[in-house]
Symmetry: C2
Subunit: 358 residues, 2 copies
């Protein structure tokens, strides 16, 4: 029985992607070898990689003057690669959560970081607003979705300076205007595929402007020139990403996914607001994330946390324990999570309320 | 029909590892989720990761004062991480092939590199000998097996300075004395598992001696402190590594594998030396690699390359076209390649000789 998988990432993937990947692990397209055994220089993998990049570009309508990379190392490696490649003197960062804060920490190894605003003092329960982004910085960096705190900034900044975004946890979940960004990166392990692959979307003209020498593997130019094949890429993870991208396309692309994601998150937020036991942790409604829904028990019921987790578990619901820095519950509603899973969670919340308020 | 897969890496893996991984992609141990969908913080993955590290330590008899990491990013990232973490002023490198040469190039971003010897002038057809390693360098780096040129240095250096080795293509293929090394690293995609995972074996005391600040993700200390879970690791690749390590143990461990590898390579080298059409490219017999056997056609037959490749293909043999910098043929005989595959290749060589010399 498939679980209702609300994991924050790695997370639920489309069943068809799992089936196709499992088949390819046994044997890829009848070629007598597994996807785990083919050369990354083979025509088979070349075709897989190119199809992945092409489909990703198509789904996100990435303009022609951008390169798309699929690399190893994770978004955390990008926290260092971004400033390594782009930060000459100073960069502006918005501190909207733990990941933004980690990105800031790494950027400081490479130059001056101006934190334009922060919601740290309120444990990141909202997205900072009304700040000024200096126009003499090398770039402005922000995190579109804060997985841990359940906030989301669904805005394509229109700035004269380069905009860099960590979209690890909401890429492909909603339409974005890529042309407004100079660089977008993220780990694949939420909406794109399994752990092990990292995507980078780069406007080519942004590169080559820093003075420092950059080791080859950390230089975006190396990977662009080699079409992500400078070194051996994470073959199986990229293959599983391709299967997931195909599924996104098959159900109607980003617009269709977006509609489904809006509906799923609405169902859950409505229940949180209605249910007398629970309350959301994000203090500004417009900042609520469509991807990660964070909520806690009302003060008078706060000892019932484990009891609700046990009830949820009995319904096949897993992965809803909140991050330790927020507590309570976090339900991650990534693309591949079905509406039925959300409805099951909502029913459990209703049932729990009935038991406790009778 | 399984191919006789002589790919240089990613390469052939044990069938049992493929079967177990395929099962886990559909569903991991009956938990209602795929290995692609579980959290890297789950008890399931914690157990997979710890079992992988423990088994790796057991197979290689890694002493207790060493840490073992399984990371993303590939050995090419290690070319930069090694000097980032260990090179204060100067390091000594042995230039025995393309990968050694790439490691040297990256080390130069971080300090002075003394190339103690090089066989580049002869296109790396032998392993340099009779050189002096200065005793005032931060470490000595060498590549144990040169995948492209088919040479191998099966010697555990006994030096007073730290020894660092890239063992990407021969780790687990033969006994080594880990205590002689301060750091060993490599991509998994030959003898350990599929592409996407990278192993690092570090003697803990070697760290913390460089002056430069090191970004968190590039700092070995970060990964040691977090038991390879500082950021999301390549979950599926590590799972497949575990299946391969279990297979190595099941057939008798390193000593058994070593015996099989000696026999397989002997069968092929004997045929190369006997067959009138072919000759090995490595000029010093003791430097011949057990893992990658490079050979070409004798001058008078050199136009027959494609014809032999076609014959081999008709027998289900793939991956034997030589690297462009050597030409001819390269048969990679990694752990999971069966003796039967080697015998099939040898039979094809005999058959080809008969056709051409009659």
């Amino acid at each position: 029985m498939r679980k209702h998988n609300f994991n924050a990432g790695p997370s639920v993937l489309p069943e068809i992607a799992l089936e196709n990947t499992a088949k390819a692990v046994l044997e890829l397209n009848g070629i007598g070898m597994s996807i785990l055994e083919i050369s990354h220089r083979s025509k088979e993998f070349e075709s897989i990689l190119n199809e992945t990049i092409t489909l990703f570009k198509e789904l996100l309508q990435i303009p022609d003057d951008y390169s798309v990379l699929f690399l190893g190392g994770g978004a955390s490696l990008q926290f260092a690669m971004v400033p390594y490649n782009l930060l000459n003197k100073k960069a502006a960062y918005l501190n909207s959560g733990s990941w933004a804060s980690k990105a800031i920490k790494e950027a400081k190894f490479f130059g001056e970081v101006i934190e334009v605003a922060s919601s740290k003092e309120s444990n990141y329960t909202y997205i900072p607003k009304n700040y000024t982004i200096p126009d003499d910085v090398d770039y402005f960096h922000f995190t579109t979705n804060n997985t841990i705190f359940g906030t989301q900034l669904r805005k394509d900044f229109d700035l004269k300076i380069p905009v860099v975004a960590d979209m690890s946890s909401d890429i492909l979940s909603r339409p974005i205007d890529v042309s407004k960004y100079s660089l977008i990166y993220g780990g694949a392990q939420k909406n794109i595929g399994p752990a092990g692959a990292t995507f980078v979307i780069i406007k080519n003209e942004i590169l080559g402007k820093v003075q420092r020498p950059i080791p080859s593997i950390l230089n975006y130019q190396t990977h662009i020139e080699n079409n992500s094949l400078y070194n051996t890429p994470p073959v199986i993870s990229i293959y599983a990403c391709l299967q997931t991208l195909k599924w996104v396309k098959s159900i109607g692309g980003i617009q269709a996914i977006y509609k489904m994601n809006l509906e799923k998150s609405q169902i859950l937020y409505d229940e949180i607001d209605r249910n007398k036991l629970f309350k959301g942790t994000v203090t500004v409604p417009e900042d609520r994330s469509m991807m990660n829904v964070c909520y806690i028990l009302q003060d008078e019921f706060k000892d019932l946390e484990n009891e609700f987790l046990d009830l949820a578990k009995s319904k096949g619901i897993i992965g809803i324990k909140g991050h330790r820095s927020v507590g309570g519950f976090r339900a991650s509603l990534y693309n591949a999570l079905s509406k039925q899973s959300v409805v099951t969670l909502v029913e459990a919340m209703k049932e729990f309320e009935k038991t406790k308020l009778k």
